[in-house]
Symmetry: C2
């Protein structure tokens, strides 16, 4: 079963928003055994939407569409779908009741444009939108399934999980797609590839290996396609084990989780706790940890100490240290990490101070200069990094490097 | 001038990564006066890449491609481009020197696969990759321009900014595209639309209006297309002023910036400072502020107080308050925000405590229960919210609501 995703909206094509819906939908479809052949983003333009629908229908069995269902004039997906199928529009009772329900809840008067949201192409089954006024739509036409959903992520997500995926599973017998990901840290893509070349060459044609590099990490993903789930799982695991044995110490996780989640799992198992002292990463490291459910068992929290004053008052960095060496220095990061351990009473701590840019650089401390420390009661590791000139990348690379250093320190627990 | 973007990689189609490259590239191209007609994500598959190239070339004048340039076997973009153009591969000296330079810098032995990265289709001009080993490629064929770049964001970004966009500007006379965005908070899309209907109807055909709703905010974007920059700017500004006058108090910014950046600008102008006390948002609000250059003038930092202990030690929340009312309560959030004002010595503070989920909910405090406070020395606003069951959305909605509350409090400065 092949699917395509079409996301509609000028805001995507001018780069005003990142299309995060497609990746989420693709993940859900894959888990259900549906391969996504192509993702296309097109403008709020009648001809363009019609062409995209036609092209997708030539390649795929199911077409998932998001966007363009709002009440305003630039939202033309619904009428364009009616035109594509050659049908008229009708008011749908359930959709209208849903609109009324939502307007009652918020105690707002109903406008004509809102009432129009209950109009749908007459050949569709309505998917009720519990979180908004725009109905979803399911079409069966010419042996293909078309599903149109709102572009607002949480409205779409709810519909996919509660309505669309269950309906697909009840209607079709789907093949099995199994992915297994191995997270490696500290070795380049080509060196990994050389090291595992013979294993890669021996892969059967129903298993594919992909390399996904990102900021010093490489994820290796095995994907198996077939009908026999147990067999496929065995085979994937067999090759995953071979890869893990061969790659050795560079492997940090044998599942598709980010490094910080792996650290949380490792620390939780051992009853260890963590706090942070963030300057130039400004809360980003805390956010990385706390986005994961259950992180509170390990992660106590910490300080975002952007100012000199907070470095002193929350972390106990000495005023003289800041004056003598500056906020971005080995001495300051050392006092920050030690202050976090002492004041926040965690087993481990990480501290980051640097110049994220674009301003604030000097000749001996250019933008991108970052000091990072990872520490436990017994040991402190400190390193200086020189990243580039881009603020967002300096923040991300600082965070990733801090995670690496903590990970290395934690590994010594095992030794 | 029309462009298309093709991003290549199975990892996009299985939803393992979000394609952020396209939005960034689309923004850059738009600024240069190039409209992006379509964005397509396709798999690492020869036939599929060939088809996507052919289709894009039918619709657009320029095709920008990212991904599939790594040294491993799943990376087939380069050879597929050679096949598409019907040419052979040659080793390029500059690209080889670049590979050698990078391997020398990291003091690693050069593998055959790395040397192969210097091989390119013989009809291309090489774009040197200062941040990696995979060369970019520029093709002029059949009156179209094709540019192939690595999928690693910072390698691609550097190439676009330093090489590709300047080259395009030197080669083509480009039309003008002007966008102007108005950020509104607190009024629904359809109510805004009704209120400005006559202004929207009076727009000339070279100016388009789009509504971009997101978590209680609606951005209104005017886009003008033409050749006469000064005329277009005047016209866009004329209509923007009409919209702003009509919408009144719901307008918070007349440029395309996120709400937190608008708050930073507002506070910086008035010499005001801010700190935060974050529990369930776990650093996310701090990250929102600190991602912006120059935020340190306003933002002192604050506490990520995930544990009871840190709420007490950093923020001074009373132990009895936590015991009697719980961490997620009006009393606790009040003490958190007051503690932030007192301990961090900022003019304004915001505090958030809640149950982000998926675990931790109870009958009277279900997952999604969040208390938020915004305060200055003279005034404290406190509100309870009941969001949904999704952790990531609860974090984002809490952060947005906290920004709204702070924004409202700040508006009173003006009155």
């Amino acid at each position: 079963m092949l699917a395509e995703i079409i996301t509609i909206g000028d805001e995507i094509l001018i780069g005003q928003i990142v299309d995060t819906n497609s990746a989420w939908m693709a993940g859900q479809l894959n888990n259900a055994g549906i391969r996504v052949k192509q993702i296309s983003s097109v403008s709020d333009n009648r001809e363009h939407i019609l062409t995209a629908l036609g092209e997708a229908a030539k390649r795929a069995d199911m077409i998932f569409i998001t966007g363009g269902l709002g009440p305003t004039k630039d939202d033309i997906t619904k009428t364009t779908l009616a035109e594509y199928f050659g049908v008229g529009m009708v008011e749908n009772k359930d959709a209208l009741n849903n609109v009324l329900r939502i307007f009652e809840r918020y105690n707002r008067p109903l406008l004509t444009v809102n009432k129009k949201q209950a109009e749908v192409p007459e050949n569709c089954e309505v998917i009720i939108n519990k979180n908004g006024t725009a109905p979803g739509m399911w079409f069966n036409e010419g042996g293909k399934v078309y599903v149109s959903m709102p572009g607002v992520p949480f409205e779409m997500m709810y519909m996919m999980e509660e309505e669309v995926i269950p309906k697909i599973k009840s209607l079709f017998k789907l093949p099995v797609i199994i992915h297994k990901t191995i997270l490696t840290v500290g070795e380049g893509e080509s060196f990994l590839a050389e090291r595992i070349a013979d294993i890669e060459d021996a892969l059967p044609d129903y298993i594919k290996l992909a390399y996904l590099p990102k900021l010093g990490q490489v994820r290796l993903r095995l994907s198996g396609y077939g009908d026999d789930e147990a067999f496929l799982k065995d085979k994937i695991n067999e090759f995953a084990t071979k890869l893990i044995d061969r790659i050795g110490d560079f492997v940090v996780a044998d599942e598709d989780i980010p490094l910080e989640k792996n650290i949380l799992n490792f620390m939780e198992k051992r009853g260890l706790t963590l706090s942070v002292a963030e300057s130039c990463t400004g809360g980003y490291i805390s956010h990385l940890f706390t986005q994961h459910a259950g992180s509170s068992t390990v992660f106590y929290g910490g300080a975002v100490s952007y100012s000199y004053e907070l470095k002193e008052s929350i972390l106990g960095v000495k005023h003289e240290t800041l004056l003598q060496y500056g906020a971005v220095s080995e001495q300051t990061v050392k006092e920050m990490v030690e202050g976090a351990l002492l004041n926040f009473k965690s087993d481990y701590a990480i501290a980051v101070t640097g110049i994220a840019g674009p301003g604030g650089g000097t000749a001996d401390k250019p933008v991108g200069t970052v000091w990072i420390a990872a520490a436990s009661a017994g040991k402190t590791a400190i390193k200086k990094f020189t990243f580039g000139s881009r603020r967002q990348q300096n923040i991300e690379r600082s965070a990733t490097s801090a995670l690496f250093m903590l990970n290395t320190l934690l590994k010594e627990v095992e030794k």
